[in-house]
């Protein structure tokens, strides 16, 4: 059974249809890249999958591990292992990152029937992950994402992914706003989290991220539909020819 199975997915935002029939199958451990120009529906797809208010599914279905994902609350999806790395991580003033992480982690553990972690168990796990990702302790003591640089915010997303151990990670334009050094650091973090039981859906506008996070499959999204699929070489081709040519050729 596939991790994610999207069939003829249509979705609207403010009454306007953005996704117009998406079909996508993802197997366990696979990394799929979704590429597309601005306005093609990339971010809408990530919000539909994660259950954000205002993104209405008008047709089609999404099965996650065989279950209807669309019927679940946002937190239930997260608890079931769907993780969204936000394009623009949200600042929450006054909430210490460590407080947030522990509450998230225990919410997920509780939902999965695992024992909630006490302060010391939690700290042990967090410290280990921080070390693996070379993140300084100072960052988790600050208020969540508040005043973080673009690079820090994206690394915080990776840290959360490492701690919540999702089965499906959706990376929404993780490369946006990062310089090349920050991009490498974040990509290294993501690569370290690649695993046989973890699939990744990497959404990006530019090919350069895929130099560092190498996908198994590449799909081109245009005007709410996947118009072309291929292996990693498709990304290079896109980079060379540009979206306009590819879209025109596929049409």
């Amino acid at each position: 059974m596939n991790i994610l199975s999207i069939k003829d997915l249509h979705a609207t935002v403010d009454g306007k249809e953005i996704l117009k029939g998406i079909n996508l199958e993802m197997g366990a451990g696979e990394v799929h890249a979704i590429m597309g120009p601005n306005g093609s529906g990339k971010s809408t797809l990530s919000y539909v999958l994660s259950g954000r208010d205002g993104y209405e599914v008008s047709k089609g279905e999404v099965l996650y591990k065989g279950e209807n994902l669309m019927e679940m609350l946002p937190e239930e999806r997260a608890q079931a292992g769907v993780f969204l790395a936000f394009q623009y991580p949200v600042e929450i003033p006054g909430v210490p990152t460590v407080t947030f992480l522990k509450q998230a982690m225990n919410s997920v553990r509780k939902a999965r029937g695992e024992k909630e972690l006490d302060a010391f168990e939690f700290k042990k796990i967090m410290d280990a992950r921080l070390k693996e990702l070379s993140i300084v302790n100072d960052m988790v003591r600050r208020a969540l994402n508040t005043g973080f640089s673009g690079g820090e915010k994206k690394r915080m997303e990776v840290l959360q992914m490492a701690m919540l151990e999702p089965s499906l990670a959706i990376l929404d334009e993780t490369d946006s706003g990062l310089d090349i050094d920050a991009l490498k650091t974040v990509a290294d973090g993501v690569n370290a989290l690649r695993a046989e039981d973890r699939s990744m859906l990497v959404i990006t506008h530019y090919q350069r991220l895929l130099d560092y996070i190498v996908p198994d499959h590449v799909h081109v999204l245009s005007a709410g539909r996947i118009i072309l699929s291929g292996d990693k070489s498709l990304a290079l081709e896109l980079e060379e020819k540009g979206y306009a040519d590819i879209v025109a050729a596929a049409a």
């Binding site: 929450i92 407080t99 509450q103 919410s107 302060a119």
Partner: protein, 486 residues
């Protein structure tokens, strides 16, 4: 770090309803219903008070008769019949007041245990931090812990009725010196009929070695609670004082009109923290405490008074802890979180009166309204003509949860001094959908996510509380907001 983690855990547990809503069955000794000179005389006699105090009370009572209830606050309630309340209710055992905790009525101790007051857990507490407690039950002080330890430093911490007997010179000198009997309607009423409260004196140069704490609880039906607190910090001394309040669930409204006076002499510092969790009434606004409180502190030279309050309870809150910054270089602070839900109404804030040179004040007020409640920040900052170089900074933020509540900000800024500087900022907004979604995407259920975000919003204030209170306050945030989402 560990402390922060502890806090998270307790926030997570915050799920039960108003958990202090139980009634303790204890035999009561009451004054007849209603208010008259006889009631005042009865209370004074019951307390075996000196003549001067009886006169002081009667003068307050006579003045009260000439006053009218203030109507300017943004709170609405049916007229209060002041003749339909009991003004004195003491546990019967007051006659032979307990000498130690061991002698305290076990039912009372039980009550406090339910309240989470660690009266019997001194050893445990001592390991973390010493807290001396005076517990006031329906206006009568029942137990003061750690008295001996405090006496070693010359600190007096006892029921005010006891102080009237044992330290009349101090009480007579300071009581009414900051809040005169004629100050306002409720203060006059309190002066006439107060039955007990706490008294505290810190001698010159002494740093009080532990938190001093009073827990107030209204238990008896149809009883008003009128406690009076007086804290005198002599030159160069320091004290941190905590006040907690609870009341049982009852259908009828109960009146609470307290007066708190603080005197900080030269170079002294008083930190006064309150977690107010009186019964707020039910979802439909039935029952709940009417909380009309006058709190004011006087700062002499270089003295500092810091008020921190977390107001989650009461049906009506009318409360403006204030600082008179009389001495040059004195400092006043006000940190406030006010949460209203269901049909609660709160009109609260502060007054900072800058009289001396280079006086400074800081106001951080966070208001959260949910349900059908109304919450108002009302504050006054006044720079008098001689307040050269004085400074004030005020930040008021309001958060609205749901579209049936209201949040209001009413500051009064008055300056008569060119070199004084006042900065005031206020914002009102709702909890951000982005923030809620982000938390939920990490697996945190909606109501918990809301509590988390609101606690973040209040953090600047909550971190001013002593640790034990900060934990309790964070829990209360969660409890108070129950049922406000979804």
């Amino acid at each position: 770090m560990a402390a922060v983690l502890e806090t998270i855990e307790t926030v997570g547990e915050a799920t039960d309803k108003y958990k202090h809503g139980f009634v303790t069955e204890i035999e009561m000794d009451r004054a007849p219903k209603g208010l008259s000179e006889d009631t005042v005389r009865f209370i004074s006699a019951k307390k075996n008070e000196p003549e001067w105090l009886l006169e002081w009370r009667l003068e307050a009572y006579r003045h009260w008769l000439t006053m009218t209830e203030p109507m300017w606050a943004r709170v609405g309630y049916p007229p209060i019949d002041y003749q339909d309340s009991y003004y004195y209710a003491a546990p019967k055992s007051d006659a032979d007041r307990p000498k130690s905790l061991d002698e305290v009525d076990p039912a009372l101790l039980d009550t406090y245990a339910k309240l989470g007051i660690p009266l019997k857990e001194q050893e445990v507490l001592a390991g973390v931090r010493n807290v001396a407690i005076d517990a006031v039950f329906d206006s009568v002080s029942v137990a003061t812990t750690f008295k001996d330890r405090l006496e070693k430093d010359g600190i007096i911490f006892c029921a005010i009725s006891e102080a009237i007997q044992d330290h009349p010179e101090l009480v007579r000198k300071y009581m009414g010196s900051v809040v005169p009997t004629s100050d306002n309607f409720y203060a006059a009423l309190n002066s006439a009929v107060f039955t007990d409260g706490s008294f505290c004196y810190i001698p010159k140069g002494v740093r009080c070695p532990m938190e001093l704490s009073t827990y107030f609880r209204i238990n008896a039906a149809e009883t008003g609670q009128f406690e009076r607190t007086l804290i005198v910090a002599d030159e160069g001394s320091y004290v941190s004082y905590l006040e907690g309040c609870t009341a049982p669930q009852r259908d009828e409204n109960q009146l609470h009109a307290a007066v708190v006076e603080l005197i900080a002499m030269d170079d002294a510092e008083i930190k006064y923290s309150t977690v107010q969790n009186w019964y707020p009434g039910d979802e439909d606004g039935k029952g709940g405490i009417y909380n009309f409180v006058t709190k004011r502190g006087l700062c002499e030279k270089r003295a500092k008074i810091s008020w921190t309050q977390v107001e989650t309870g009461s049906a009506i809150t009318w409360k403006y802890p204030s600082c008179i910054l009389k001495g040059d270089d004195s400092v006043g602070e006000f940190y406030s979180v006010a949460i209203t839900n269901n049909r609660q109404q709160a009109d609260t804030g502060t007054k900072m009166l800058h009289i001396g040179k280079n006086t400074r004040s800081r106001i951080i007020a966070k208001g959260i309204s949910a349900g059908k409640s109304q919450s108002t920040y009302r504050g006054q900052v006044r720079m008098n003509a001689m307040a050269h170089g004085a400074k004030n900074y005020t930040q008021c933020d309001s958060l609205l949860i749901g579209d049936e509540c209201g949040a209001h900000t009413v500051p009064y800024i008055e300056s008569k001094n060119r070199s004084a500087r006042v900065e005031h900022e206020a914002t009102t907004s709702k909890v951000s959908d982005d923030q809620l979604f982000y938390c939920r995407q990490r697996g945190i259920p909606e109501e918990e996510a809301l509590t988390l975000i609101v606690n973040g919003f209040c953090r600047e204030v909550l971190q001013e509380l002593p640790m034990e209170f900060a934990v309790e306050a964070q829990k209360l945030v969660g409890i108070s907001l129950e049922g406000s989402v979804g």
